[in-house]
């Protein structure tokens, strides 16, 4: 297959990833010839070739890892930290178009780059007594979506009680319809509470605290 990342884009990504600190692992789940599975696999492999700190591991839905990371859609992938620990950072569907930005941010953040959250964020999440899932529905043509995805992922990296997942709405119409998505970014917290648009981290925290 032809390369997804042309020379210019590859160079930009390589430069961007050069300050990565720790090793990370991408665990990709695919199933047969599912929509965008091949492209997602190829994207992850091409990006991993641009940094020696990125390893890609491929699994299927029957693997114990799929259960461990609660994977039900394909393609999906999670990003593990340098100790191989899942910190709740998940992508469902290919992070192409504008979403390449939330993907690259997540790689940097997971490798130990400081994303500048105030310490009070973790303190507020410490009050959680159960796990909270944050879904961020996106389209690849949405310029306001990557910051919303990054916020969800950074909250997940800040606290073990939070899981953040990007869901590419066109690839997964069923779950998009289930949550009645026809405008993005649409943020669903714990399956019930909704935020629309690129929201400050405070808006996420208020919704999460309302659930606690």
């Amino acid at each position: 297959m032809e390369k997804l990342l042309n020379e210019d884009v590859s160079k930009q990504i390589k430069d961007y990833l050069s300050p990565m600190k720790n090793n990370i692992t991408l665990v990709l789940f695919t199933e047969g010839d599912c929509q965008t599975c091949k492209e997602t696999q190829q994207l992850l492999l091409e990006v991993s070739q641009l940094s020696d700190k990125i390893t890609v591991v491929e699994k299927d839905l029957k693997s114990p890892e799929a259960k461990e990371y609660d994977i039900s859609l394909t393609p999906s992938f999670v990003i593990l930290n340098d100790e191989g620990v899942y910190q709740g950072v998940k992508f469902n569907g290919i992070p192409a178009g504008h979403e390449i930005n939330s993907f690259l941010s997540a790689l940097m953040d997971m490798s130990g780059h400081d994303f500048g959250f105030d310490p009070s964020v973790k303190a507020r999440l410490d009050k959680l007594t159960r796990k909270i899932n944050i879904k961020v529905f996106v389209t690849l043509s949405c310029p306001h979506c990557p910051p919303a995805v990054s916020n969800a992922h950074r909250l997940a990296m800040s606290h073990p009680m939070i899981e953040g997942e990007m869901i590419e709405a066109q690839t997964f119409p069923e779950i998009s319809n289930q949550f009645n998505v026809s405008g993005v970014p649409k943020i669903i917290i714990d399956g019930t509470r909704e935020l629309v648009g690129n929201q400050p981290i405070e808006a996420f925290l208020k919704e999460i605290e309302a659930l606690a």
């Binding site: 994303f115 500048g116 105030d118 389209t139 310029p143 306001h144 026809s182 405008g183 993005v184």
Partner: protein, 323 residues
């Protein structure tokens, strides 16, 4: 296929200091970035605070009225502005929203949502606008379940469906062109006549299944509770109510100025637009404003950029005369 913007800059550690800025810019659209460029060239200690770089440029698919640059995507023009600004090593802090602006003892205090506070001798407020709403029954109920304010974001949800575009300016005309790639049928409903550039309206002639209702006022969005199903409107020429069943409504009727953070400091007009003088200075000395948040009636990229330049030059003079 890949719209990379994340790698275009690295945050400067200038924002870790508590040093006083000469000129602090709130907003990263054309006005804010051009102001930062001009201020930096003048040798001012400048910084930009913005949740996202590019502002409303990202809601624009094609820009073809910025002289010297033909047929460029809104995002690409934003990248070009950013690249030029960064070549002068202007520090830009993104990812955080400004939540408070005050003036204390002749200096401005700007607080971010992470509680960081910055201080400046002069401040440019260039936050632009957020999409204006129609304020009709059903609009809020069906927001994001049929009603959309971002064509580039949401057009893919309306593949082979019938959508309505509300508005008569360039944004509405461009929205029609963008939606033509997805929707099977497009209907424009606008309360008066087209104000859009003729060059855009000429492109509409190539779009099949485009119907235009001018002099028609939207009255109501209706649906089944889960999704919108259509709109009711009033045809002012024929003096009759019309019902248009449709799957989506894209509202492109301009912006509401995001002036809330300085309304306690500077005068605004009835619409909430910040009132400025010929130097782009507000009624609050040292506080400048530029772009779509001001009373300037023609909301255009090149005009916002020009206003940013004026503000930076005027702020330079202001600092000389007040220090």
């Amino acid at each position: 296929m890949f719209e990379i913007s994340v790698d275009k800059f690295k945050e400067s550690n200038i924002f870790e200091t508590t040093e006083l800025f000469d000129f602090l810019v709130v907003g990263g659209g054309p006005a804010g970035l051009n102001a930062a460029l001009y201020a930096r060239r003048k040798g001012l200690k400048v910084g930009v605070l913005t949740p996202e770089v590019g502002g409303q440029l990202h809601n624009t698919s094609e820009v073809d009225n910025y002289i010297g640059i033909q047929n460029i995507k809104g995002g690409a023009l934003s990248d070009a502005f950013l690249k030029h600004t960064l070549e002068l090593e202007v520090p830009i802090k993104t990812g955080h929203f400004v939540i408070k602006i005050d003036k204390v003892d002749e200096r401005f205090e700007v607080t971010l949502d992470n509680q960081q506070v910055f201080y400046a001798k002069t401040l440019l407020y260039a936050t632009g606008g957020s999409p204006r709403k129609l304020d009709i029954p059903g609009e809020e109920q069906y927001a994001n379940i049929g009603v959309s304010y971002c064509t580039t974001c949401d057009a893919p949800f309306f593949k082979n469906e019938h959508v309505i575009v509300s508005g008569g300016g360039n944004s509405a005309a461009e929205s029609v062109i963008d939606l033509a790639a997805w929707a099977s049928k497009i209907t424009v409903v606008h309360r008066s006549q087209w104000r859009a550039d003729q060059i855009l309206l000429d492109q509409h002639k190539k779009i099949p299944n485009l119907t235009v209702h001018l002099e028609t006022q939207l009255k109501e969005v209706y649906g089944d509770g889960l999704r919108m199903k259509g709109v009711k409107a009033f045809d002012k020429v024929n003096q009759k109510e019309i019902d248009i069943p449709a799957d989506g409504l894209f509202i492109e009727i301009g912006t509401i100025p995001k002036s809330d953070l300085i309304q306690h400091l500077a005068e605004t007009n009835e619409q909430g637009e910040v009132i400025v003088d010929r130097d782009q200075m507000t009624s609050c000395p040292g506080l400048f404003s530029a772009g779509d948040v001001t009373t300037q009636p023609y909301k255009q990229i090149i005009i916002s950029a020009g206003e940013g330049a004026t503000a930076a030059l005027a702020a330079t003079n202001y600092i000389i005369h007040h220090s």
